[in-house]
Symmetry: C2
Subunit: 441 residues, 2 copies
């Protein structure tokens, strides 16, 4: 066992999530999935919100102030279990390559630009503004290796009212110089990130080793220990691409599997999100289930980067925890609603041409994954049942805004036009009962 690179602080203090005290109601056409198999809905229904939580859903108007969205569809806030905030600036671009090439040629050079505060501030603000217009209320996001601009991302998301986790990425090997940290630096910057990142009300730090290939054993073991000592959640990538998996096998000769490698460093816990899991082996499925780790299913990304299709039906049958993720920018949409249809479509293709024994996902099952399924990583989130956090999205059918920060060329702009199907904007949005968008009437 390597020696500890840090001392545990006397007290690890965290702010408490802001909660809107008081009561009010939201009116509209309500729909949610209490369980995967079925939708529940109520036309002209009232959601009573008390102290940031859902108290009741009723057809009768409560004696409270009402935000009236009559005629509009109202769904639970959705949870995005995996995305890369800095990659939003090139979402929909560079889609003709596979993972490792795509990282080398495009992703790493652009993430390097986030060392610059000015660029990062502008890019993250646009990301936050556009995310605010989607039904997403909870996220688990990657920043970059740069602690300061990742803290800036947390500040922007927190001010916008989002709730969830943001991670300073760790990379100390097999990375370009500008994105490669010394192991000690990576650990100390992570500790500083945790300390400074604990000041935000609703956005919290999460331990974020990029993936096995870019983290040394020593770094991974330190990160596992930090997560345990500070009681922090963990996010990383697992079994996304076949070449990546071969590479990991050669990097971890002593591990039984890719998942086992993470587990040997105590990085596989019930508060861990593993993105993708396209190619989990039987032993890995068992291990993920034993540890209670979450699978972040990213159907758009898995197809765009030609990784494959995750057998979600099997994971659900085996009792794994599964949520949906946009995986911006491997994924080409910021909209979890788009991910719902992508998940259904992917499962149909898998059923038809890969494994006819795995029934396609129904629409309600896929919607459940985007709402209550992924939401359970954040607590009681993603349903309109009493006691759930009041995460509420009112769907509108108006425009989405395009953003451009890279002055892309004409071909890139065309590619962007092709891949960026408009996100479904929301007219209003509440997170823990706090209105973060819209006026109501």
């Amino acid at each position: 066992m390597v020696g500890r690179l840090y001392r545990l602080p006397e007290t690890a203090s965290y702010g408490e999530p802001e909660v809107l005290m008081g009561s009010f109601a939201v009116k509209g056409d309500l729909i949610w999935t209490p369980e995967p198999g079925r939708f529940e809905s109520l036309a002209d229904g009232y959601i009573t919100v008390e102290d940031g939580r859902i108290a009741a859903v009723s057809p009768r108007r409560p004696d409270l102030p009402v935000d009236d969205y009559s005629g509009r569809l109202i769904i639970p806030g959705l949870s995005d279990l995996h995305l890369h905030a800095p990659q939003y600036v090139f979402m929909g671009l560079y889609m003709d390559e596979e993972l490792l090439q795509w990282l080398e040629r495009h992703t790493f050079p652009i993430e390097a630009a986030f060392r610059d505060e000015g660029f990062a501030r502008e890019a993250y603000q646009v990301f936050s503004d556009d995310l605010l217009r989607t039904p997403t209320t909870r996220i688990s996001a990657f920043g970059t290796i740069f602690a300061d601009t990742t803290l800036l991302l947390m500040d922007i998301l927190d001010k916008a009212g989002f709730s969830g986790y943001v991670g300073k990425v760790n990379m100390d090997r097999n990375s370009p110089d500008i994105l490669r940290e010394a192991t000690e630096e990576s650990v100390s910057e992570t500790l500083r990130f945790i300390e400074e990142g604990s000041r935000f009300a609703s956005v919290r730090p999460i331990i974020t080793p990029r993936f096995i290939p870019s983290c040394s054993d020593r770094l991974l073991s330190e990160l596992g220990r930090i997560a345990a000592d500070y009681g922090l959640p963990i996010q990383s990538h697992l079994d996304e691409n076949l070449s990546e998996i071969e590479w990991v096998a050669s990097l971890c000769p002593d591990s039984a599997s890719y998942a086992d490698a993470y587990d040997s460093f105590s990085l596989l816990t019930e508060r861990t999100i593993m993105a993708h899991c396209v190619w989990l082996g039987d032993d890995e499925v068992r291990l993920m289930k034993e540890r209670g780790a979450f699978v972040a299913h990213s159907p758009s990304s898995n197809i765009n980067i030609a990784s494959g299709i995750a057998p979600v039906r099997r994971y659900l049958d085996e009792g794994l925890k599964v949520g949906l993720a946009t995986d911006v920018a491997g994924g080409s949409s910021l909209s979890l609603l788009r991910m719902v249809s992508d998940a259904v479509q992917s499962s149909k293709v898998h059923w038809r041409i890969a494994d006819g024994s795995l029934e396609p996902l129904s629409l309600s099952e896929a919607f459940y994954l985007a709402s209550k399924g992924g939401g359970s990583f954040f607590g009681k989130v993603g349903s309109f049942e009493a006691g759930y956090d009041a995460d509420i999205a009112v769907i509108a059918r108006d425009a989405d805004r395009a953003s451009r920060l890279l002055q892309p060329g004409i071909e890139e702009r065309l590619e962007s036009v092709i891949y960026r199907s408009a996100e479904m904007p929301v007219e209003a949005k509440y997170i823990r009962g706090r209105k973060v968008r819209g006026s109501g009437s």
Copy 2:
């Protein structure tokens, strides 16, 4: 050979497509695919239009009036080789079923409503209005069995300035009573449809047997003869779904294949579009190539109805003519730009999990299919090369409009919200040099 059910008229007269005489130029950031492998582009370029055709593309301003779209992306008008106009009213709904069930339960009952002129007029107007906001300039569309409302569809599309083909659907067996015609009636109504449909300037009749299961041998043989006598193009469905293919085999014991069945009735010609072709056998590929028939690749529909993924790379390698199609409403988007990304994504999945020997489509290849590839069915359409019809689409990034005609329930509305990713609207559009949308400046 059965006896002829009709007499060939003395003269089969057709209107000539309206062409805008005179010259002008369109300015903007131009991009097109002269060949599948590469994009060609010109920033701040000028397209010179003479008498409805493209005369030149140049970086220098010609001495002509200019419609100035500086800063906007300008692409060739796109060609949609297969869609069902009446199904637009439920696009994005009923996506949890396979083809035959989906036809029985939803498609046929709703198509039956198009016997009513008032409903048809409203539905087709919304379809035309929304189609006008996409980059699509040419279409080959199915109407219903009802000749009068299908003529109404032609009238609406013609007035809107679209160019292409609309077919009165033929069905005389294996269909619900309200959609089943007597063979003689089907033939005589088709002849009336051809006569009355010949009055439109830019939208022409096309022979449209729905598919083998819903057309008797006698009807198919009459339709093949009508197509030959009137020199009309043909559209139908081929090898979409495995159950459908088994059914056809049992219906046509004497045919070597599904394609051979059409061919035996002279319905497979160089002016024939066969939608889907997901499961073409080797002999069918050869036959399609010998006849010079077009494949209408509908990636969105083929996945939504779980039909499979057409091996487009193979068809291209074998020299088949291929274009893209939305196949509304099996397809869940009216946007051919969405079909471009869907075609790329489908080809990646097929390469990864079905046949690693078939390379995925590149973006330019897929865009070529939507523009010049499918456009070749209509003439010199889909490129900015000199001599091509001046079909030009100026891309804007504003809202798309939702339309609702079925007063869907809340679940259906949610499903629609999920599946209907916004079409990419156009700020302006020209068809054969005629501005059909937008003002310019």
